[in-house]
Point group: C2
Chain length 253, copies 2
């Protein structure tokens, strides 16, 4: 029996017409999810909304109350379609102000790049009461307001912002995972998977089929916050598959 533990949760709002039009393939969901796992925080919900103030306000207010942390990506650049800061300020019912530290950062960054224009100064605007998240990649910082973390849309800039937040957020035990693969149709072993999961409390088994080289296979991912339980579950799963006549590939196929 595993000790019940406090589970820390997060949500993400991906903001941008370019994701909903299919123009841009989002990469921030997977990137944030992986980073949160290491911090011991579970990403439990993502919403993608367009560059639409009402949609952002609704999503922010629904999710910030429900989770320990809320992240947003996108819409914090200098152009007219960058409305994230204004929308979040509206959701929080606070004003928007120029952050002096952000202004200084931008001023330094643009000193050799044509100077701090009015458009660029937009990137120093924050919801009143915010602090900044370091951006090691370009001039404009991310923004923290309470439990809300406002990040860039460009994935490598968000990566840098996450890097600067590493280790600063309270979390629980990280979710550990282990994977094995097998050339088997998941439908052949559905009962086996369910039985192994039932026998290992605190472990979840996910089944992810694929089709390669004209053959059907699946990878099985066991997740748990308990390293010993995880090892026991993946070992039992591997043994059960081998007994059934399906050779197992540790680490997945």
């Amino acid at each position: 029996m595993l000790t019940p533990e406090r589970i820390w949760t997060a949500a993400l709002i991906v903001i941008g017409d370019e994701i909903l039009s299919g123009r841009t393939q989002d990469k921030n969901v997977a990137q944030l999810a992986s980073w949160l796992n290491v911090q011991g925080i579970r990403l439990v919900e993502v919403r993608v909304v367009g560059d639409d103030s009402d949609a952002i306000v609704e999503a922010v207010n629904a999710l910030r109350a429900r989770h320990d942390y809320l992240f947003t990506t996108g819409g914090i650049g200098p152009t007219h379609d960058d409305i994230t800061v204004d929308a979040i300020a509206r959701a929080l019912d606070v004003g928007v102000e120029i952050d002096p530290q952000a202004r200084a950062m931008l001023s330094g960054y643009y000193e050799t790049r044509g100077g701090l224009t009015e458009a660029r100064l937009r990137m120093a605007r924050v919801p009143a009461g915010a602090s900044l998240i370091e951006n090691r990649m370009s001039g404009a910082p991310g923004i923290r307001h309470g439990n809300i973390f406002i990040m860039a849309g460009v994935p490598h800039i968000t990566a840098g912002m996450l890097d600067s937040l590493t280790g600063t957020l309270e979390g629980g035990h990280p979710v550990l995972s282990a994977q094995i693969g097998c050339w088997v149709a998941e439908s052949e072993i559905a009962d086996l998977l369910a039985a192994v999961e039932r026998a290992h409390e605190g472990c979840q088994i996910g089944s992810y089929p694929f089709f390669r080289e004209g053959k059907t296979g699946a990878n099985f991912v066991v997740r748990s916050t308990d390293a010993q339980a995880l090892q026991g579950c993946i070992a039992d799963l591997g043994a059960a598959l081998e007994r059934g006549g399906w050779p197992v590939f540790p680490g997945g196929i």
Copy 2:
């Protein structure tokens, strides 16, 4: 002045722990978005939820009432973590039943693949009152119930299901788009972009910066349902950029 038109909207629920854990990079958002554009339907909201019945029920009931169409991807396979059909039946307050046509399809598909086991028969289960969506790739069909379209998680299977739905859903005018690129920091031309957008009713301009070969650039996407308005807007934008001394790359960089 453009004639106001009925805008058809859709939402998508991506279902699966593997997306929220960062293990799997979702590809169905971009795929569905592109397909919907061609049908004249706008994807206006996406939610990603885990393999969690309550989360699925809440998202289904929030979104099905709000949009013309609701799509889901993921969780319709044969294993214990495939709970989409049961959760949607719960959301609709209907029972789950074996669809005879789906059973026949699966029976045929598995005839030479080890037979229709109980686990495989799970894939013939539908919320009562549903019809089927053809799956040209593998045995298990997608499911339609009212305005809800229940699709596979594996992208190439979903692609086949979308293909079989092409032209069958009522939509409005497709959103057309045109793109130009420029080696310019978007912050230098933010005012220009806003002014061109204001001058072209019915057009939206999106600005998507990038960093390549050590240089800063941006692509600008104009979207409109009116082909003539779109052409006028992109031509004016290009001319304004050229006048400012920034050579334009038609089609984007």
